[in-house]
């Protein structure tokens, strides 16, 4: 039985018994969901009210039901992974008790805990996360929605570690599952995630060309950090566009307005990359308008698409400004790995602008030092440092 079956069966039972107090819990949940998109803090408060009501009734299952949705709110809407981690640990601890052995939500709560760690510092906790995911794969029946969440989580984990081929394969597997089960919500999210994965796929698939090997007659196209063949470029952009369009269709159908800013940002990105600037500007404006109108912080990929567009066109000052804004927006949300990445990007763009200083490296190192496994970021930062030193010695020469 998955969580929705449990929910609807519970409602029917409460209705038959005339248990208005517990029916009220359901209405509270529905009302909270009404707020979820436009005012996630209000939705969170509503869910907390529901939790308190359930606790007052001594109903542990309903209490954990609300806790799970509070966690979903923190993870997906507020993107506050630090707060989610602390809450998820407490809730997972509670859920271990024998009275919850048959609670369908138990799997979701465990996934929430993993999800929080993935969002904080996936590399730093890679071993524990991997073990937990392996354990979950045995726990979650393939025919329930939890399994889709699990595949999504596995893909998030791969993306966080820049394992783009693996992430791509997992997302495609998830899409196939969604197709089988008719789960359009997960499908929409996967199409969107795939846009970000495909953007990075050339680096994993070694499609980025070595500048030394590019001949004069070769038709190549610049991407963020190198060049790819025209053929690869068209293929990848075509894929991103078709995923973005499919995500748009599903988002419209599901009336999932909070995803539009990201969808339009991807469509803008494709337009800009192809040089179709008029259409791209239109999508970009829509994406930005929606972003500022929403009370939600979009997924990291929204910024990746935005930033990469600047990068591709050499607008390093705007890319830097965006990085600084993004740093402010995620402050206090516990996203340690993302903060370290952004500190590195800051160095990268400042290097391109010729304004990079030793203090920027210090700041980046301080962020990287907070990571459980800093080696990846240290290596990437070292590449920037080498380029900086070369730049300095060239200018001194």
């Amino acid at each position: 039985m998955d969580i929705w079956n449990w929910l609807y069966e519970s409602i029917e039972t409460h209705r038959e018994k005339g248990d208005d107090s517990r029916l009220e819990l359901y209405w509270t949940f529905r009302e909270a969901m009404d707020f979820d998109e436009q005012n996630p803090q209000a939705a969170f408060a509503a869910l907390e009210e529901g939790r308190k009501r359930a606790a007052a009734l001594g109903d542990g299952w309903w209490t954990l039901f609300f806790e799970h949705w509070k966690l979903q709110n923190l993870l997906s809407k507020q993107r506050n992974y630090g707060a989610a981690r602390d809450l998820a640990a407490r809730v997972a601890l509670e859920a271990r008790k024998p009275q919850y052995a048959a609670l369908p939500q138990r799997v979701c709560l465990q996934e929430d805990l993993i999800s929080a760690f993935v969002g904080i510092d996936a590399r730093g906790h890679a071993t524990l996360i991997q073990e937990a995911l392996d354990y979950m794969e045995k726990e979650a029946a393939p025919d329930v929605e939890c399994f889709l969440c699990l595949l999504g989580l596995q893909s998030d984990f791969a993306e966080e570690r820049a394992l783009w081929n693996e992430a791509h394969a997992l997302r495609m597997r998830l899409l196939a599952r969604c197709e089988e089960s008719g789960n359009e919500h997960h499908a929409m999210q996967s199409h969107l995630e795939l846009c970000g994965v495909i953007l990075n796929l050339p680096y994993a698939a070694e499609e980025v060309l070595d500048p030394a090997n590019i001949g004069e007659s070769d038709e190549v196209v610049p991407v963020a950090e190198g060049w790819v063949s025209r053929e690869t470029f068209e293929k990848r952009m075509g894929e991103v566009e078709s995923h973005a369009i499919r995500a748009q269709e599903l988002a419209e159908k599901l009336d999932a307005g909070e995803y539009f800013s990201e969808i339009w940002m991807w469509r803008a990105h494709v337009g800009f990359m192809r040089g179709e600037t008029e259409a791209a500007q239109e999508f970009f404006k829509r994406a930005i308008d929606r972003f500022f109108a929403n009370g939600l912080l979009p997924a990291e990929n929204f910024f990746a698409a935005w930033r990469t567009t600047y990068w591709r066109y050499g607008n390093f000052d705007k890319a830097l400004q965006l990085v600084e804004d993004e740093e402010k927006w995620i402050e206090g949300t516990g996203q340690l790995a993302r903060e370290a990445r952004l500190a590195r990007f800051r160095c990268h763009f400042k290097l391109a602008l010729g304004t990079l200083e030793a203090a920027d490296f210090e700041a980046a190192r301080a962020k990287i030092a907070l990571l459980g496994d800093p080696s990846h970021e240290q290596n990437r930062l070292a590449e920037v440092e080498t380029a900086w030193k070369n730049q300095n010695s060239a200018s001194a020469g």
Binding site: E24, W27, T28, R30, E31, A32, F35, N39, Q41, A42, A45, A46, E48, E49, G50, K52, R85, D86, A89, R90, A92, L93, R96, Q110, L113, I114, F117, H125, L128, I129, E131, A132, D134, Y135, I245, Q248, E249, L250, E252, K253, D255, F284, I288, F291, F292, W306, K318, Q321, L322, E324, D325, K328, W329
Partner: protein, 634 residues
Amino acid sequence: MASASANSGAIFMSELPHSSESPSRGEFALHLPGLLKVLAEHLYSNRQVALRELIQNAGDSCVRRALSGDAPQGYAPRLDIRLDRAAGTLEFSDNGSGLTEDEIRDYLATIGRSQTRELKENLAIFSPDDAQKLVGQFGFGFLSAFLLASHVEVVTRSMQPDSPALLWRAQGDESYEMSRAQRDEIGTTITLRVKPEAAYLLERELLGETLRRFADFLPLPITLDGADEPLNAGRPPWEGDDPAHEIGDYIRARFHAPPLVIIRLGPHQFDLGHDTLEIPLEGFLFVPPGSVASVREYGDLSVFIRGMFIRDDEKHLLPSWARFVRGVIDCPDLQPTASREDIHQDETFGWVKKAIEAQLVSALHGIADEEPQLWQAIVRGHADVITGWAARDEEFFERVADILSFRTTRGLLTLRDYLNLSDGALYYVTRELGSLQEQLLAEGHGFPVIDASWFGVEGCLRRFAATRLHDEKRVRLVQLDDNAPELLRAAPSDSLQAVLRWYEARGVRVKVARFAPDSVPALMVYPRDAQFIADARTALSGDELPAPFAGLIGEVVESLPVEEDDLAGVLHLNLDNSLVQSLADAPVDARRGAVLETLLQVGRLFAGRTLTVGDAAGAFEELGAALGRLMLEE
């Protein structure tokens, strides 16, 4: 959120150099493809609204036919919508007035010219009731069809005598085709070849839901695939045979909540001194059974104009404090925007808002005066929202401040009743209550404590304290949590050195304090997170968690900034307590040791935290042993 960093520097017109030559005149040019694109793709916020525009066109067409006097006897307007998933088409067939060739050119193919608006203007003076039946007015709603469709085909036959059937085709660019067609029945059929990105509307259930949402109240039966029963109600619930019952059912179905009270709205007259102004208003307001938290607010209306749905979540037509009220209204005087997704906030809007507020306030006063139990239920159910708004809105605060009940350690109390129990101060905690110790300590000071853990309560208390007097004195406001010295005051430990040594020898941290009530000899105080850490350690050591999760939870535990020494709790001995005083200045013999053991175990049990079942059993065991020793000493 911060400002968009993507904005490029704008060049303002005033910054452009001015010429001294006399200006030449010019005319705006129209770029038709661009205009079509803007109207068809950007005027509306989503694709579904195109369905509303097509329904409305069909509805107006049927009204035109009914008003023409040429309609056959017993004319029953109808609109049938058919979907063909395989072909990817949606078809709208009405038996309205149809279109002549001139009407197609003048209205269908002329942007900004509306046949309905012109008819409405003609009817407005001599037949205003008939004019009100017409909804359309802008003349470009039809363009919205291109939101959904790549190709649009219209087959129509006008009610005008000897009008031929016509076929009109367009693909959303600046041209269209028109030719003769085959059709016997008067009316219009519009076929849309649906774009791939709008293909979801070919799903029957979704289409039905969307149509019902827009046209449920419209007096035009709409059928899907020729079904016998229309999918829309055809009238609002307040026009039903049993309006009260139907409105109740409507609220339960649409808003998923049984209402505490329903307030009917009706036409409202304003006395302007020299004249009266009547606002033609229909609908209802209702108070849902409860709100969820003080930041969880309603205060929203669903707005219809002449039976056509315009929008949900309209928050400007209700007073800002009415966040515990929802409703549905229909007012023909409201002016929709061109996309018909919003309402112009013009002078009429202001009058409608005043009419709604007047009827709401009158109804609430009536309930408060005549049905106090219902009013209590409303205030209780929406305490959080009401307190939140009372804290923010001075006018609303004045309406509810003296009747609003707050959660306290002695149950729900109004602030007036609370002040009669306290010493003229409002004592509150922002943490959740539930700790017996906290409650005991507060009551020890002789006052109940207000639970201000909900957003808004504290603000409301502040406003109350700032604006009210109690016994002609200002009301004080005292926050008790995070204010330990208020409840536990440090005291000299000199006289209890032997006692402290006895506890320390057993690994128990202990402090000497003074607190009320003095009948309590000792309390065990734990730091924040102690319960979680203790639970986690128990689970981890007992292998109660799957290994990977134990690892993840262990990482969280390690990250918490808690002093290891404090985790077991700190026993606070009350120097104001006579038993504790009797332990002073004397060595700890076996009898005194048994007393100290008893105090420790009672303190642990009373705190009720960080105890496992084993701990509790152990505490009782120690307690029993100590009491046994005391009995032996006797």
